[in-house]
């Protein structure tokens, strides 16, 4: 058995403790979200409907007839002055019945629904949006542009709730809360539903609190005309995260980006592991591209924006580097275990007690924040880390009963019981910190191969949705390191949103 020297010991300890950093940041986000009232933007909004800006809603569409059929009507029924709202659908050379449908809708809503057709498309969402922006900015009708997706349905007051913030001349863009609203949702839909409350409802309120927003939701980004013109009249086409680039450029130009969590939109999100993997891989790769492009912005205070403040940097990097932290922590624990260091158990306890308490705190707050999502997704919220990780949390939180339970199980299955069993279980738990990502990747591979699809929900429940997201981020590291092609993969939408009644 080898011993670990002084500096090595401290370095390994630091690696394990770094694994707890994302949890600490998640707890801080909840604290900031809870205190959001003291830094929200509601004291600078416009409440007179006659002074609301003229808004052009820009929708890129490629073979979206199934969802446009009802989302166009929903947009026309919004609680917004009809003479101040136009819908512009940019049809990216669709091959389905989108052109015929849009011709019908343009006739049904004359002057309010416009159809722009690109005969040669396929360049991706950003190029499609830029085509629409060029047309919209060519005349001075639009005072603001709301960029959304074909499948997104806004609650009746959502656009008013967003545009009221534009009364403040310092605001460049506003985003809303997008909630997963698939009709008969499966477990993946419900995991996404809960995740969105945690990531947007909590995360973006926290970013409002520190006055630095990481990303305008791609399906609900409202820009002032001036902001779009300052951005060059077009959005970024070089990365997979054009909405994040727009968000950062807006703030670097000295304009505020506001999240209004009470402006709600409904969207249909992926319902399978494969579809989720495809969507999130694109997002994660986009975030890595953005991090590389704006690396000089983080942790360097700048004039006119707060993106360089430590809290924003911590929030951004703790998410992006989570898989790396997990691998480092796991590797360090295993080395300490091999070296026979008692310190491994102590550090493991610190890491997992932090995780367990952080999980209880953030989950309780998130479920309390949105009761309708809580009613729908509470099981997925509790199962978010996966059954195996929950067992490890129980092990560190209540060690004595868990010890008795594990001993009973080992005896019942014929493994017997001796101190070595306990020791090897500890090693398995140390390894699980990173092996959970491999397990999640295997669930994805099984789904992709079309095998054990009926058991997918159970497998995700065992390995965890959180580890699945981490595995996707790690896959993004690999894709970026390999220089994989930057292609736009459209997420399939079927129009199964349940509209508010």
């Amino acid at each position: 058995m080898h011993t670990v020297g002084g500096i090595g010991l401290w370095a390994l300890s630091l690696f394990v403790l770094l694994g707890a950093l994302p949890n600490v940041v998640a707890v801080l986000q909840v604290v900031f979200a809870a205190l959001h009232r003291y830094r929200d933007h509601y004291d600078k909004v416009e409440t007179d409907p006659s002074r609301l800006p003229r808004v052009a809603v820009l929708v890129p569409a490629w073979n979206e007839a199934a969802v446009l059929r009802f989302s166009v009507d929903a947009m026309m029924e919004l609680d917004y002055p009809p003479d101040r709202l136009r819908l512009v659908v940019v049809d990216d050379a669709s091959t389905d019945e989108t052109p015929q449908l849009m011709a019908e809708k343009s006739a049904q809503y004359p002057g309010r629904v416009l159809h722009l057709r690109r005969e040669h498309g396929g360049q991706g969402k950003a190029h499609t949006l830029n085509h629409g922006l060029r047309v919209l900015l060519a005349d001075d009708w639009a005072q603001a542009v709301l960029i959304t997706d074909a499948d997104v349905v806004f609650e009746s007051t959502a656009v008013q709730r967003m545009t009221r913030h534009l009364a403040d001349p310092e605001v460049g863009a506003v985003t809303a809360f997008i909630t997963e609203a698939s009709g008969s949702p499966n477990s993946i839909n419900r995991y996404v539903g809960y995740e969105y409350v945690a990531a947007q409802g909590v995360g973006r309120r926290a970013q409002n609190f520190v006055r630095a927003q990481g990303c305008l939701a791609g399906g609900a980004q409202l820009h002032t005309r001036e902001n779009l013109i300052d951005l060059g009249g077009e959005i970024d086409t070089t990365t997979l995260a054009e909405d994040t680039v727009t968000t950062i450029l807006t703030q670097l130009a000295g304009r505020a980006v506001i999240f209004d969590g009470n402006a709600v939109c409904l969207a249909e999100e992926p319902g399978s592991v494969v579809a989720l993997w495809k969507q999130r891989l694109r997002w994660s790769r986009g975030n890595l591209q953005v991090a590389r492009r704006f690396h000089k912005v983080f942790f360097r205070p700048g004039r006119g924006h707060r993106l360089g403040r430590p809290w924003f940097g911590l929030m951004w990097w703790s998410t992006l580097l989570l898989p790396a932290f997990m691998i480092l922590a796991s590797g360090a624990l295993v080395i300490l275990w091999l070296a026979g260091e008692n310190r491994a158990r102590l550090l493991f306890d610190i890491l997992w007690i932090t995780s367990a308490l952080g999980f209880i705190f953030t989950t309780t707050f998130t479920l309390l924040m949105d009761r309708s999502v809580a009613r729908r997704c509470w099981r997925e919220a509790l199962a978010f880390p996966g059954l195996i990780s929950l067992t490890v949390m129980a092990w560190v939180l209540v060690p004595r009963p868990m010890h008795e339970l594990v001993r009973g199980v080992c005896r019942a299955v014929g493994l017997g019981w001796n101190p070595h069993v306990w020791r090897y279980l500890a090693l398995a738990a140390y390894l699980w910190v990173s092996v959970c990502m491999i397990a999640a990747w295997l669930v994805y591979r099984l789904d992709k191969a079309g095998k054990l699809r009926r058991l997918n929900g159970l497998l995700v429940f065992l390995t965890g949705y959180g580890p699945l997201l981490c595995a996707i981020t790690f896959a993004a590291y690999v894709a970026q390191a390999r220089g994989a092609a930057t292609t736009w993969d459209k997420t399939e939408k079927t129009g199964k949103i349940v509209r508010p009644v």
């Binding site: 009232r37 609680d79 609650e155 008013q160 009221r164 707050f365």
Partner: protein, 50 residues
């Protein structure tokens, strides 16, 4: 529209703003409640299971 949804989305923009204000104000209490749950878990751990 359900009674709950109607309370959340009043027709009057001023009332709507007040409702949004109140919702943000309630987050403070929700945060304290979440903290209380954590404190209870920690107390249970130390009193009963160690």
């Amino acid at each position: 529209m359900s009674k709950h949804a109607a309370a959340d989305n009043p027709d009057d923009p001023v009332e709507r703003l007040r409702a949004d204000h109140r919702r943000e104000q309630r987050l403070i209490w929700k945060g304290l409640l979440a903290l209380l749950v954590v404190v209870v878990v920690v107390l249970i751990r130390y009193w009963f299971f160690l």
